[in-house]
Symmetry: D2
Subunit: 160 residues, 4 copies
């Protein structure tokens, strides 16, 4: 599904990590890490921290949102290249089961790259459980707004 | 992805068609048809009708919503069996490109079957274009509420 | 709440009706009518038709989606003027109770008018029941994409 | 709009603060505070912290999500009473403008209290700017799942 293919990602994993550390240092300091990037795909992991835990011995909704949001950001950059100013336009997240206090894995993929918006989905499951097993913990979909300087350049190129 | 598997669907395609014709005759009269059902999956098609067309030579958003909604309903019933009273609790639909006036194919799959809610996603593309090609026309996600008589029975069985 | 004010709507109710009849004749033919327009606001009504009814003696989800979608479209046009090509970018609808078979009233209001997107919400209740009474039947939020010719003009004006 | 009224909130502001500190200490430690509670309404404030800031001199999306999520939780508890195990079922958040690095105010209100789900919306604006001024920074809607022990009790009472 989606736009993933064998083409090279527009940003390498190491460069995405450097961009995060420069512009959003809280991401990695907060326990989120970048596992893999391909064109149109980004996998990130949340390693449980005390501030992620909530009542009932589970991980909080905002933790899963933050993980989904940055994984989708990585997937967007894997297609448009390094762009600190791409921002979430909207996001819908559905919580499917309470995860145990174990690492969470988020797999984001782009379903549509437009001129102004990039749309994708994120599947979140607990480490060691596959999405195949129907064990999704959360599912998110959302749009990132692509900065207009970038989209203006793309448009000029398309029209040239 | 999801909960689809080789197990038999809890309702056969013919019985789903009969249920629609009895309880929601407008579905098939309005140009929507059931192409395929498996456990956790339902594929439906919208054949363009005059009232689906809108400005710009494209198919309307409400047409795509109606198609996504009933395809997800089919996918829910493929897991819980015939249940006229299952109703949509919420749905988010994102329109990704304006489709030409050609049949639309919606593929719904259940991502989580809970006791009270079933959650799934629907991918819509124009007939003859694959989702593989990155040519999605719309993407929807949503919850169906499972009637509590049914969920009460399920619960009793689970506890027994 | 929102951007509504005493300023004149950018399209009059009669002109919105004419635009619908020209570009989306199915709207009014299908039982939806325009009750009121102000700047940033549009009220529409769905008068029950046989094809709106579904199992359980209630009105269908797609009927409520279609009503919310066109009411939000009216609210967008009340701010940007007649624009047949504005299209829904995404919409989230939550169904709160099963409505009886009575007219449904949808009140749409714009919460943010941007250059590329207009965002708003729609409250739906049964005719004769107020939103004040906590009797909402459905609630929707969504974005409309503003055609870029229009947004390019707006941008030029803003920069001039 | 909604179900707010003069009736007493089912949890007092002080008791909600104590519940947060016991079950989700990260909320207040992270810079979020409870400003006001009424029945069906909860106002919370995010005071900027270093880990809330992101590229472009603005506050991050996950900060706004976390604020919206806990404000809606407060609004739910204002109707059902102290309930540590109520959890977000789904949430849609739309980011409307990049906020400056100033306190953010979130106003949550319940639009529907059902037996299993409570649905509401959250309006977020920068401190000192009113929602009246059309200056919303973000808007969220979502469902909280009400624990079934509680809903079973409510049901028994309703049937008695």
């Amino acid at each position: 599904m989606g736009m993933e293919n064998q083409a090279k990602a527009a940003i390498r994993r190491d460069d995405f990590i450097a961009l995060l550390d420069e512009h959003m240092p809280q991401v990695r300091q907060g326990g989120l890490s970048v596992r893999a990037m391909e064109r149109g795909l980004c996998t990130m992991v949340a390693t449980p921290q005390p501030d992620m835990v909530r009542a009932g011995g589970t991980l909080s909704g905002p933790t899963m949102f933050a993980l989904a949001d940055v994984a989708l950001y990585g997937a967007v950059l894997s297609m448009i290249g390094p762009e600190p100013l791409a921002v979430t336009s909207n996001m819908t997240i559905t919580f499917l089961r309470k995860p145990p206090i174990r690492p969470l894995v988020a797999e984001a993929r782009i379903l549509k790259l437009g001129r102004k918006l990039a749309y994708g989905e994120v599947l979140i499951h607990s480490e060691g459980e596959g999405e195949e097993a129907g064990e999704l913990v959360a599912h998110a979909t959302g749009n990132y707004a692509i900065p207009s300087t970038l989209s203006a350049e793309k448009e000029k190129m398309e029209r040239a």
